[in-house]
């Protein structure tokens, strides 16, 4: 398990949620699915501007790690449920939780995503 200092995992998780929303609204399939429901998205530019502002507010170390992972995975962060990484669905070792509660950012040894314990 590699690590960096952790100021706020929730902020980066929110950024990941927002990035996924942007991809969904920007992607042709997602757009057409929403259009069939009668939903338009004229405010995408506002959302992108908000995304940039949010990214600037994060700790640069977190942001750098996140951006690097995000270039590999659409979901750079994986929630942990029942000791399982929801990115690769690998079972995490019992020591992973203890490390996450320390000052280090937990990274899944299986897929390399940032792990989020909530």
């Amino acid at each position: 398990m590699s690590a960096i200092a952790v100021p706020t995992s929730h902020g980066v998780a929110h950024l990941n949620d927002l990035d996924r929303l942007l991809v969904e609204l920007d992607h042709a399939d997602g757009r057409s699915a929403l259009k069939r429901l009668g939903l338009e998205t004229p405010g995408l530019a506002k959302l992108r501007a908000h995304r940039d502002k949010l990214a600037q507010s994060l700790d640069p170390r977190w942001l750098h790690l996140y951006e690097r992972l995000h270039s590999r995975y659409p979901r750079a962060i994986a929630a942990v449920r029942a000791q399982v990484c929801t990115g690769c669905f690998g079972t995490l070792p019992p020591t992973a939780r203890g490390r996450a509660q320390g000052e280090e950012a937990p990274i899944c040894q299986g897929c390399g995503r940032i792990l989020l314990w909530i």
Binding site: H10, A13, H14, N16, D17, L18, R20, L21, E24, L25, H27, D29, G30, A33, L34, R36, L37, G38, L39, E40, T41, P42, G43, L44, K46, L47, H50, R75, I77, A78, A79, R81, T86, G87, L116, I118
Partner: protein, 157 residues
């Protein structure tokens, strides 16, 4: 306000609220996500509320005919949840001035695949598409009747 939590179905847990008191969209989102948190579907409420607000900023989720379908996939959501909430007084949802009387909040965990997500959205939207379904929902006496209607129409299993 009477809330009937219903046993989780194979996929989506459903909560029904027959009469919302709040009249502003953002307050409604806070209330509904708070309920979702109480039901155990949301771990941390503020980022989910914020994501829903941002989704509204990208484009309103009001479907017309007094119905809104706010929705979000988030890392802070741990299981799929549908909240059907009715407001007799109406909610100021978007700038077009039409009041919303039925809110269908759909939440799902971040790992939900896009095709599954869009299928769920379509299914839930179908609940309010036909006038007869909407009228039955608006006329339902309580939360259990609302849920029965949602099941009848196939919006929830």
């Amino acid at each position: 306000m009477i809330i009937v939590p219903v046993a989780p179905t194979a996929t989506v847990t459903t909560l029904c609220i027959p009469d919302l008191r709040t009249r502003r969209r953002d307050s409604v989102l806070v209330d509904l996500v708070g309920l979702a948190r109480s039901a155990g579907a949301v771990r941390v409420a503020p980022p989910v509320v914020e994501l829903l607000r941002l989704r509204e900023r990208a484009g309103t989720t009001a479907l017309g005919k007094a119905v809104a379908l706010p929705h979000a996939r988030s890392l802070f959501v741990c299981r799929p949840l549908l909240v059907l909430a009715r407001s007799t007084r109406g909610i100021d949802w978007c700038e077009d001035g039409e009041l919303v009387h039925l809110v269908m909040l759909l939440l799902a965990p971040a790992e939900t695949p896009a095709d599954v997500w869009h299928t769920r959205l379509t299914r839930v939207a179908s609940l309010a598409r036909l006038q007869k379904h909407r009228q039955r929902l608006f006329a339902a006496d309580d939360a259990e009747v609302m849920l029965a209607i949602a099941r009848d129409t196939g919006a929830v299993t």
